[in-house]
């Protein structure tokens, strides 16, 4: 049964991939969506019945093909199939009329199948199957409109950058295997928890797996592929590059929490990387003019928050944020998609504005998404972000520095969320044409997502109110003792972060309300320009890594030809020696006699000298 969860969307991929072009629109979209929904129901049913397991022994020698549905993988699978279903439905409308309609849904179903493999795996190699599979789906979908070189290049960049992380994952598995002789996660868990003296290589293994997570979740320094990944159709950005695939790194850390809970040093660095990424993404978002790139940098930033949570040891909090983020970020992307759709493909926010009037429904979606992202009180993003900030103080690997820096990023988040909203929906319309609202097949999924973006946070509230998520996930996560602050302190901090969000939103509103009419200070212009370029990360990579590596490829190619030449000359040398020796055989007796004499003389001389 568990296998069926994966096989349903996989079957969709095969059918649509092979015969999709014979189907009339919207059949491929409907079929693909239905299959994902079936998977969703199946996961729910299996979860209700207490989980499930599938094992094929000796898939590779000593390495089983193992799947496991426990609370953690079930939770994640519900997010993937649930949000995935909504985005599938949206895409039925969004991809309308596209030449590659069926191909799109084939890839989409393939992605879901691979993502479920990743999530349900109970063995690292199986997870790696899904891990690279979603990478491939991402490659295919970023480059979906492949006739434009720019899109093709972005797709390749994403895949190659991810491979750097994948190498870390691969080597991490090799190390774990050499330490414990198994790669099955439940066995490793027992081995790590059961051993009194932990092997010294464990920290390195944790670090290597973390490298994998950094690549997949676009953390510093491997974040450069995600903004370019926006070259794909907008539902792709929503599903893969916001709600699900990019959170796979967080999931890997949570799945491996039995490791990281024993590795304070590695965890510290995870938190630092997460925090820096959160800051980097938030600052870069201020400079973007592309409606999707703003949201993309915001995704980098929010993923950084999740890594911060996982780093300090609050694994359930990281997963809580994965879920709320999936709602509001998918909503933000799909609202952006509706805007782009309404403007006939326009993505530059400088040519938008005033869309509140023209697209009332989409405006509402955008507003809810932005407020949830900003951490507006009582919205979903508010609760999960506050849980992260609180965790930096209460969990063992946390610290006040993390809290303060996290709070500062929360302020930035509120400000750039407002920037996005104000530039798109407020003021005067700066573009051309007459924007028209999207059809119901696109707005209804957004309604559902908007409900989630508002209410999903109520699943886990601070004490003494209820928390449904932590106890649900607890059996599958490593337990770290948090020292609970007094409820008064906790609610005080809550008020503080609410205040920060409100101040950020208000200042953002003042500054960006009629941004194009006012005089902007020069220092902000300079900052904006640097942020637009993502603080020159791409330039740095190209100058110091990519181009030298390409040059070296040609250099090595030449060196290899040189080696080839060297053999030829060596061969020529042998030939020459042969000709000289052959020349000695000239038939003159006196020549031979002279030669014998000469060598005899040399021989005697050698004997004397010696």
């Amino acid at each position: 049964m568990l296998l069926l969860v994966i096989l349903l969307p996989l079957a969709g991929f095969l059918v649509l991939g092979l015969f999709g072009r014979r189907f009339k629109e919207p059949l491929p979209g409907v079929l693909a969506s239905a299959l994902v929904f079936l998977s969703f129901l199946l996961v729910g049913a299996l979860l209700a019945s207490g989980g499930a397991r599938f094992v094929l022994e000796d898939w590779l020698p000593g390495i089983p093909f193992a799947l496991l549905l426990d609370p953690l993988s079930g939770y994640m699978a519900l997010v993937v199939t649930g949000i995935g279903f909504l985005i599938h439905v949206y895409a039925i409308g969004y991809m309308h009329g596209d030449e590659g309609y069926a191909r799109f849904f084939a890839y989409f179903n393939f992605f879901i199948a691979m993502m479920l493999t990743l999530v349900l795996a109970d063995s690292y190699p199986v997870m790696f199957v899904g891990w690279e599979g979603v990478g491939l789906a991402s490659f295919l979908l970023i480059g979906f409109w492949y006739t434009d070189w720019k899109n093709a290049k972005s797709a390749r960049k994403a895949f190659i950058t991810n491979r750097i992380g994948d190498l870390g994952f691969l080597l991490g598995m090799a190390l774990l295997y050499s330490l414990f002789g198994t790669l099955q996660i439940s066995e490793l868990k027992e081995a790590v928890e059961g051993s009194l003296v932990l092997p010294g290589g464990l920290a390195l293994a944790g670090l290597l797996l973390f490298v994998g997570a950094v690549g997949k979740s676009a953390q510093l320094p491997l974040m450069v592929w995600l903004p370019d990944a926006m070259a794909g159709p907008t539902p792709v950005s929503a599903l893969i590059h916001a709600a699900t695939m990019v959170t796979a790194g967080v999931y890997l850390l949570a799945r491996s929490s039995f490791l990281y809970a024993n590795l304070p040093d590695v965890s510290y660095w995870i938190a630092v990387v997460g925090l820096l990424t959160a800051l980097y993404g938030a600052l870069s978002a201020f400079g973007q003019w592309d409606i999707k790139r703003i949201v993309a940098y915001s995704t980098i930033s929010q993923l950084g928050y999740m890594f911060l949570a996982a780093g300090v040891g609050a694994y359930w909090v990281a997963l809580f944020h994965v879920m709320t983020h999936a709602f509001y970020k998918a909503l933000l992307f799909l609202a952006s998609g509706s805007v782009i759709h309404a403007l006939g493909g326009e993505q530059d926010v400088r040519k938008m504005g005033g869309l509140k009037k023209h697209l009332p429904r989409t405006h509402l979606h955008g507003l809810v998404g932005a407020l949830s992202l900003a951490g507006f009180p009582l919205f979903a993003g508010f609760w999960s972000k506050d849980a992260i900030l609180a965790a930096t103080l209460s969990y063992p690997f946390g610290g006040v520095g993390f809290y303060l820096a996290g709070l500062f990023v929360a302020f930035l988040t509120a400000a750039y969320a407002m920037r996005w909203y104000a530039l798109v929906f407020l003021g005067e319309f700066r573009g051309q044409g007459h924007p028209h609202e999207a059809p119901p097949v696109m707005t209804v999924p957004n309604d559902v997502l908007a409900l989630g973006a508002v209410f999903a946070g109520f699943l886990a509230l601070p004490k003494p109110l209820w928390n449904l998520i932590e106890p649900f996930l607890a059996p599958a996560l490593a337990h770290l003792e948090a020292h609970e602050p007094a409820p008064l302190v906790e609610w005080g901090l809550l008020l503080l972060s609410a205040a920060v969000a409100l101040v950020g939103l208000y200042l953002g509103y003042l500054f960006f309300r009629d941004y194009f009419k006012k005089k902007v200070p020069a220092w902000y212009r300079a900052f904006e320009q640097a942020a637009l370029e993502g603080f020159y990360a791409d330039w740095l990579y190209n100058t110091f890594l990519v181009n030298p590596a390409k040059e070296l490829a040609f250099g090595l190619g030449l060196a290899d030809r040189g080696l080839d030449r060297a053999y030829v000359y060596a061969g020529g040398g042998v030939g020459l020696l042969g000709r000289i020796l052959a020349g000695l055989e000239n038939g003159y007796l006196r020549f031979y006699a002279a030669l014998i004499l000469a060598f005899a003389a040399l021989f005697v001389l050698w004997g004397v000298v010696r």
Binding site: P61, E132, T147, D148, F159, I160, L170, A174, K550, Y567
Partner: protein, 466 residues
């Protein structure tokens, strides 16, 4: 099993029209035999007859898990290649079948002189394929290939003789030689001689230089390249003979061998990126894979050896497939230069999908046939040397770069010159090859189980780890 492709080849040589049909039947039969051997425990179809008793030379053949796996994929690869190529001379196919017979002989031999016989016999048809049907610079490529190979095999012959006389074995049977292994300096020298021979045939840096020219100059249909790919039996030679016969010498030289393997793996993948010719790119890519396989084997672990042999077996399918694919491109564009046009996915979506599939198998995407070998090699190699594992497997990044660039340059971008999509015959090949490559990726157990059995014997012979 050996006889069938040989007979088919012989008949085909004189009656070129029949070569394809007979070849298909013969390879199908030998493939089925190998499949049966795969499921049988121990050494299947063992036969032993004295060939030249006074000298202790026997006709001793049999298939254990490892050789059965290789025989199976060899037969399958040739079977599929016969389906894939069209408009090629029947005699060329016949030569290929003779080569197949030799290859199966190499994998089945359990007597060293017999092994040497097949090793050399296979060379003749491969030289003829290159010499008769090759490109403009075939003579140069041929001389290079022949010199490297012959120099290697002469050393190997000396080593085979040395192995028997310094160890005092009663015959050239592998079994006898293993029970009376030579020791000391003689063993070291013999091991080095074997090593040089197999380094040429793996190939490993710096003895690989014949390979790019060999592939670039062979017949553009890619058929001869498939045969050449199958002929890269160096890793198998190390596994079956060189290392088990001289474990002490192997242990002494292990660090250097690991170094060469790692350099080959990374260097070749990197160089592949800079190539401007499809076949050269594939040659370097495949070379990189052999570096990875060698690394897995030289780890001296069972899991690494399984990885190495799995990689060897599986790459016959997808590397061969890519060479045939290059042949299809040649048939359409009349050139093997990379990217004679662009945006081809628009005109030929099925061709594009199949090409991407093969490239992905080559870069070791999990779920396809390239992954299990790479992955198990990594697990084994790490136990021997984490550093060299890191160096060698940095190639997975370079592999993504060369494979995707090559693919995208042709299939992505604005639609250019239009060409035909897959033809009926090509569909048959593409379907079967896809099924085979995907099946081995999803259910590697079919091969990895039997190979593991053989790998345990290998490890027992050298006293290595798991």
């Amino acid at each position: 099993m050996l006889l069938l492709p040989f007979l088919a080849g012989l008949v085909g040589l004189f009656l070129p029209g029949l070569a394809r049909g007979l070849g298909l039947l013969a390879t199908l039969a030998s493939g089925l035999i190998a499949l049966a051997a795969l499921f049988a425990p121990g050494v299947a179809f063992y036969a032993e007859r004295p060939l030249f008793e006074p000298a202790g030379v026997y006709y001793a053949v049999g298939l254990d898990g490892a050789s059965a796996a290789l025989a199976l994929t060899t037969s399958l690869a040739v079977f599929l290649a016969l389906l894939a190529v069209k408009e090629v001379p029947g005699r060329m196919l016949a030569l290929g079948l003779l080569m197949t017979a030799g290859l199966l002989g190499i994998f089945a031999s359990l007597d060293l002189v017999l092994f040497y016989f097949f090793y050399e016999a296979t060379l003749i048809p491969s030289l003829l394929l290159l010499g008769v049907y090759g490109g403009a610079n075939r003579v140069r490529a041929l001389i290079k290939f022949a010199l490297f190979t012959l120099a290697g095999s002469l050393l190997m012959l000396a080593a085979i003789l040395a192995a028997r006389y310094y160890g005092g074995a009663e015959s050239f049977l592998l079994r006898d030689l293993l029970s009376a292994r030579p020791e000391g300096a003689a063993a070291t020298l013999a091991f080095l001689a074997f090593t040089l021979a197999f380094m040429v045939k793996t190939p490993l840096f710096p003895l690989h230089v014949w390979l790019p020219d060999f592939h670039a100059e062979n017949h553009p249909s890619g058929f001869a390249d498939v045969m050449g790919t199958l002929y890269k039996v160096g890793v198998y030679g190390f596994f079956r003979f060189a290392i088990p016969l001289f474990p002490a010498a192997f242990a002494a030289f292990k660090p250097y061998l690991l170094l060469l393997a790692a350099v080959t793996a990374l260097g070749a993948a990197w160089i592949a990126y800079a190539q401007k010719d499809y076949k050269r790119l594939l040659a370097y890519g495949a070379l990189s894979h052999m570096g990875v396989a060698a690394l897995g084997l030289f780890s001296g672990t069972a899991i690494g050896a399984v990885g190495a042999l799995f990689l060897l077996a599986a790459s016959a399918l997808y590397t061969g497939g890519l060479f045939l694919f290059a042949g299809w491109l040649f048939a359409r564009f009349g050139t093997l230069e990379l990217a004679p046009t662009h945006g081809l996915a628009k005109h030929a979506p099925a061709l594009a999908a199949f090409g991407l599939f093969l490239f992905l198998a080559m870069v070791g995407l999990p779920g396809l046939a390239g992954f299990p070998g790479e992955f198990l090699s990594a697990l084994g190699a790490w136990q021997a040397s984490p550093f060299f594992t890191l160096v060698a497997f940095a190639a997975v990044i370079a592999a993504a770069a060369y494979a995707l660039s090559a693919y995208q340059r042709l299939f992505h971008g604005p639609p250019g010159k239009a060409v035909a999509d897959l033809s009926g015959g090509e569909w048959v090949y593409a379907t079967l090859a896809t099924l085979a490559v995907a099946f081995l990726g999803v259910y590697p157990k079919l091969l990895s189980g039997p190979i593991h059995e053989a790998a345990q014997a290998f490890v027992a012979a050298i006293g290595g780890g798991k």
